[in-house]
């Protein structure tokens, strides 16, 4: 595996409503690797994730993607390369298939049935789901649909914002298995925010511990993660 740097954060800070959320963050995310961002709620985990696909802007500092400042990459292009799955799954009106056609309509290209089937399988959904109304799916299935929809942009990185928090224990574990599979099969860089240490262990990636907007050093992270 080529271990090049996918994302690099240089002195990144974020202030919201006069309150510092992230302070002077310096981090590197390697291509094809897995990362778990841990920390108490309100520590700035989600904000950090949202800076990477420019859902929000840092107040200062630079973020590089493949060595290029993300401000110089058209934002719609960046977000196709850096997919995101939210804490609460979002499904659009219509069937599962309608939902999976959205990435194509955004790009303005004809849908590729084979690609859709592949994304569906990789996300752990059966083909028979295609004709089902998306609103009728269980939360776990909705989250898988969100995963499949993000995959249709052929992303290089997948940002997961507490993707398992709305799911029950078993469903969460199988979803994490699917995420691991995506990393193994597609070589996707995975950056997942969670507050559950067990989920970090299942993902089996590097742990980044954030507290009060700063990244703790490796030693402290290990001690926190063992709690």
């Amino acid at each position: 595996m080529v271990c090049r740097v996918k994302f690099e954060l240089i002195n990144v800070s974020k202030i919201k409503n006069g309150k510092p959320i992230l302070r002077n963050i310096n981090l590197q995310f390697l291509s094809g690797s897995k990362y778990t961002i841990l920390g108490p709620s309100g520590s700035g985990k989600t904000t950090l994730l949202r800076l990477l696909n420019r859902m929000e802007e840092p107040s200062s500092g630079e973020i590089l993607f493949d060595g290029e400042n993300i401000k110089n990459i058209p934002v719609t292009k960046l977000r196709k390369k850096v997919g995101m799955v939210f804490q609460i799954p979002v499904v659009f009106e219509g069937t599962v298939e309608d939902n999976l056609l959205v990435p194509y309509s955004i790009k303005g290209i004809p849908p590729d049935k084979e690609e859709i089937k592949k994304a569906l399988t990789l996300s752990g959904l059966k083909e028979s789901f295609l004709s089902q109304r998306a609103m009728d799916l269980s939360v776990g299935e909705k989250q898988r649909l969100n995963l499949a929809r993000a995959l249709l942009n052929n992303p290089e990185v997948l940002l997961l914002d507490e993707p398992t928090s709305a799911l029950d224990y078993e469903t969460a574990l199988t979803l994490l298995d699917s995420v691991n599979e995506l990393n193994r099969v597609l070589g996707l860089t995975i950056i997942m925010v969670t507050h559950q240490v067990e989920h970090m262990r299942i993902l089996n990636g590097s742990a980044i511990y954030i507290e009060n907007g700063t990244v703790l050093d490796k030693k402290t992270t290990q001690s926190r993660a063992l709690i």
Partner: protein
């Protein structure tokens, strides 16, 4: 056969007879303690004063008959319509009066131009007997359409915020992400117009047509005018709500296709 009917003149005694019917209505409501009699009387008085005043204003405009006074009247009508649309909104943002004014001016302006200069071809171009009542109907309907469009767009964007973010995260532009909200707002703006087009002549006779028939116009000519008016109203609502929704949704997004947090607070 030539149509020779002319409108019967009315004097103030006739108005007083009509007024006494209102007193009977108010008395009935008071007797049953419905509690609306004061509002009914205020409404009665306001109708009297407002319409009488407008009668004098129109008479002055028609007699004076100068293009600048007529254009000024149209601008005042647009300004009042704009103010009404803005006042009915929950989110009265700084730019709202400008975009509403622009949308109503363009939507009604094009419509009014086509109906007066291309279809009826009034002479001179500012002939107030045509221009002012037609402008009143078109601007009035643009006002209603614009109110509904802004109201619906704001509420849709607020309630579908997560959906919009999901779109943006997939690489959609702000416009792509807001499109379903824009569609829903444009639909809300047009529905009253469609409803009235569906039942016109069956359930209700439109005011303008009734007025023309009463004043002696042949029913066929009155109907032709009404048909044109209905189409023009729909057109002006379509243009106004299209412009308005497209100018309005942008305030919810940054230039980098991010949701603007402060737009929701």
């Amino acid at each position: 056969m030539e149509y020779t009917h002319t409108l019967v003149d009315l004097n103030y005694l006739d108005l007083i007879i009509a007024l006494s019917l209102m007193l009977i209505a108010a008395g009935l409501y008071r007797w049953y303690r419905i509690g609306l009699e004061v509002a009914l009387i205020i409404g009665t008085v306001r109708t009297f004063i407002q319409l009488l005043a407008v009668g004098y204003v129109l008479k002055f405009i028609f007699d004076f008959n100068r293009w600048y006074l007529i254009v000024l009247t149209l601008l005042v009508m647009i300004a009042v319509a704009t103010r009404t649309v803005v006042q009915r909104q929950q989110r009265k943002t700084k730019e709202l009066p400008y975009i509403v004014g622009f949308a109503i001016t363009v939507g009604s302006g094009i419509t009014l131009f086509v109906i007066t200069q291309v279809i009826i071809q009034i002479e001179p171009w500012y002939e107030p007997h045509y221009l002012i009542p037609l402008a009143g109907m078109i601007i009035g309907n643009s006002l209603n359409g614009s109110t509904l469009a802004v109201e619906r767009l704001d509420s849709e964007i607020a309630s579908r915020r997560m959906e919009i973010e999901a779109y943006l995260a997939l690489g959609a532009t702000a416009r792509q992400a807001a499109l379903s909200c824009i569609r829903s707002a444009m639909k809300a703006a047009m529905i009253p117009t469609i409803n009235s087009m569906m039942v016109v002549g069956i359930v209700s006779l439109p005011g303008m047509m009734t007025g023309q028939i009463l004043s002696g116009t042949s029913p066929f000519l009155a109907v032709k005018y009404q048909i044109i008016i209905m189409y023009m109203i729909a057109f002006s609502v379509a243009i106004s709500s299209f412009l308005l929704t497209h100018l309005r949704f942008r305030r919810y997004f940054t230039a980098e296709h991010q949701l603007r947090e402060e737009a929701f607070s």
